[in-house]
């Protein structure tokens, strides 16, 4: 979507007459990439479903305050990321454990998850990712699985492209090391 198309699209989203159809289009465009983004973070399908719902409801509720300073795409990714992070923190708090422990728990459940391809290398990769610091995990997943461009990631995470590249390469090195030794 070009910048001009996007401006017109945002206007459609704000106009009460065209709003519903525009929002349906928004859903069709972004529900899959945003689902993958959220699922990669929370791991479990049902949790991802909850977070994705909250994300789109929040997007809808806050359309008026979308100033167009950033792209619609990165704005939505930011909301989804924040929703997923909040969800994971609450999940850990509810169980009275740290975020790392909660992630480990979710990871262990993945083996028996019907909505996960129980391939050994895929599981191993997830376990390797879980050993990284939170931000590095996010950068790796967005680059490797979601195949986002550094420029896009930079807008979403408000981090410079250079820092993201460095972060990704460190993550790759650590993961390769983990896969090699485990």
């Amino acid at each position: 979507m070009t910048l001009q198309d996007e401006k017109a699209f945002v206007l459609e989203l704000l106009n009460p007459k065209t709003q519903n159809e525009a929002f349906r289009k928004l859903l069709q465009l972004y529900q899959k990439p945003l689902y993958n983004h959220v699922r990669g973070m929370v791991l479990n399908h049902d949790d991802a479903d909850d977070v994705l719902q909250n994300t789109f409801i929040k997007v809808f509720a806050n359309l008026k305050s979308f100033k167009g300073d950033s792209k619609l795409f990165s704005w939505m990714y930011r909301i989804a990321t924040n929703e997923a992070i909040t969800f994971m923190q609450q999940r850990a708090k509810k169980q009275g454990i740290s975020s790392e422990e909660a992630q480990q728990k979710a990871l262990n459940k993945l083996e028996s998850d019907v909505f996960f391809d129980g391939n050994e290398i895929q599981l191993k990769l997830q376990k390797a990712i879980a050993t990284l610091p939170e931000k590095q995990q996010l950068v790796f997943k967005m680059k490797y699985f979601e195949e986002l461009k550094y420029e896009e990631m930079s807008e979403i995470l408000t981090t410079s492209v250079g820092a993201l590249k460095a972060s990704y390469h460190i993550a790759v090195k650590k993961i390769e090391e983990f896969l090699h030794t485990n």
């Binding site: 529900q31 899959k32 399908h45 719902q53 391939n119 895929q122 490797y144 790759v172």
Partner: protein
């Protein structure tokens, strides 16, 4: 064992799957939520305003009570302590003796008492005579 090379090896996909027709259902679910949410939101706005009113009126009620309760009790205590009431109470009260009563009398009370009881200076001799005959004299003189 061969080293893993994430960049050059075949890509490992995330392995995440979704239930069948998940996205179609998701789209329908969200569309339903946002279309039914609109009127609900308006109601919510009204209810929030209403709640605000309740808050304001309950605070106002508290203020009223804070002012009204002391005023009520002041009035009540004033009206309850009519001098006739005190008098009749004291008259019935056996344990309060004359000396105790005297201690609570001010100079003004005494002059008033003198005038109402018709005690004048000319009669002071008679009083003295009376007092000299009573057993309490020592005590009164020491006062």
């Amino acid at each position: 064992m061969k080293r893993f090379d994430l960049e050059n090896n075949d890509k490992i996909n995330s392995g995440f799957k979704t239930p069948e027709r998940y996205f179609e259902q998701f789209e329908a679910k969200i569309m339903q939520q946002i279309t039914t949410e609109k009127p609900v939101k308006e109601v919510k706005v009204v209810s929030l305003f209403y709640r605000k009113q309740v808050w304001i009126s309950s605070i106002a009620a508290l203020f009223l009570l804070a002012i009204a309760i002391p005023v009520y009790f002041n009035m009540a205590s004033e009206s309850n302590l009519e001098s006739t009431t005190i008098e009749s109470y004291l008259a019935q009260q056996q344990s309060v003796n004359t000396n105790e009563l005297i201690q609570h009398l001010s100079d003004e009370d005494i002059t008033e008492l003198e005038s109402t009881l018709g005690v004048s200076t000319t009669e002071s001799d008679e009083i003295e005579a009376y007092l000299s005959e009573t057993e309490n004299l020592d005590y009164i003189l020491n006062e």
